[in-house]
Symmetry: C2
Subunit: 215 residues, 2 copies
């Protein structure tokens, strides 16, 4: 499958590398088609990895990952071009984090709205699926932990898109995939990111991921 | 220890029974001192269990549990009397659930406020600790699950109160207790309750509890 990655930060690099490892073709998009970080990432991964602008990556991907800082989502999606994302699955890995307070991050969008819903409104023709937002980039692929595999929590309006993402998450090594309903359930998943962050900060345990134990 | 329980629903009964099982003296408070459900609960548990009004239970407890429906918190805390809770630990087990939509519950308070903060504002002299709100009542005590014990997530403004609650949670059989900071972190824990509910509804898996897997 052809995968576009919007963003060349740690999340974009980790997920792009994972898709290459699984045999997919990945184009990483940045503001500039000659972004040094993206070029270095692609060089290290070989012919299945390429780089381009946000628009290039959005046009390339049959499936596209949004892996920018949450606060950049609007600008990045406009640069990518909503028309290039129409009809495609867009995995929203982001959280609307506000780091302005100096302490732990807060949510800049919460309550009766969410970052996931904003993304869906910005690209109404895309099938947005929230995923990967409740874990750090180090554990997004093959999350090997004692007692694992951990679970992933997803949300989105398109049932078939969520089935595709669920299958991908299994390929990635995740345990149960909990479908929480429509994209508005991002209202619950984005606060859960903060639970992850606050717990990681307190214990300095960044290699951690949620699981719902069941009997 | 003397424990007051505000509420005679499933959560109050389960937690009250647990404290009795651990050798504590528990008074369950209701609107009426002759609440049939509370009397039946106490009769089944013997001399360490007693009943009374909300004010009776608040006055009795060295530690008090708020185990009402979230929407009743204000009325119940006024009936209990904030002055009877001053200086005491008040464990807030509640979630501000809005069931009016007919579908899965939503949060009636969210974003830049939370049920936990409202409780703290209603009883400013109490040491409110959010706990038990991310799991169903069937698993609050001795939560035996494959891969367990599961973890508990707490929040509150008083460090010593959180230490006491952490020790109690260990007595109850919980694994790691994640202290997420001040009571404002209820903003993140109450949405996590909805993640639990939506996941339970989808899979009809009510015997489930969160754990943060770590390496």
């Amino acid at each position: 499958m052809k995968v576009g990655v919007l963003g060349s930060g740690d999340v974009g690099k980790a997920l792009g590398k994972a898709f290459v490892a699984l045999g997919h073709d990945v184009k990483m998009g940045s503001r500039s088609a000659t972004n040094e970080k993206a070029l270095a990432w692609a060089r290290a991964l070989g012919p299945k990895a390429s780089v381009g602008t946000f628009a290039d990556a959005a046009g390339f991907g049959e499936l596209v990952l949004l892996a920018t800082l949450g606060e950049a989502n609007e600008e990045v999606l406009k640069a990518a071009g909503p028309e290039r994302l129409a009809g495609k699955i867009l995995i929203d890995t982001t959280n609307p984090l506000d780091h302005s307070g100096g302490g732990p991050p807060k949510l800049s969008v919460s309550g009766n709205d969410s970052g996931g819903e904003r993304v869906q409104r910005l690209v109404p023709g895309a099938k947005v699926v929230k995923a990967f937002n409740t874990v750090g980039n180090a554990l997004m692929f093959r999350p090997e932990l004692p007692g694992g595999p951990p679970d992933m929590f997803i949300a989105g309006n398109d049932a078939a898109a969520k089935q595709t993402v669920t299958a991908l998450l299994k390929d990635f090594g995740w345990g149960e995939v909990h479908d929480l309903g429509g994209i508005e359930s991002s209202r619950y998943l984005e606060p859960m990111c903060i639970v992850w962050v606050l717990s990681a900060l307190r214990g300095q345990h960044w290699n951690q991921a949620f699981k719902l134990l069941r009997k």
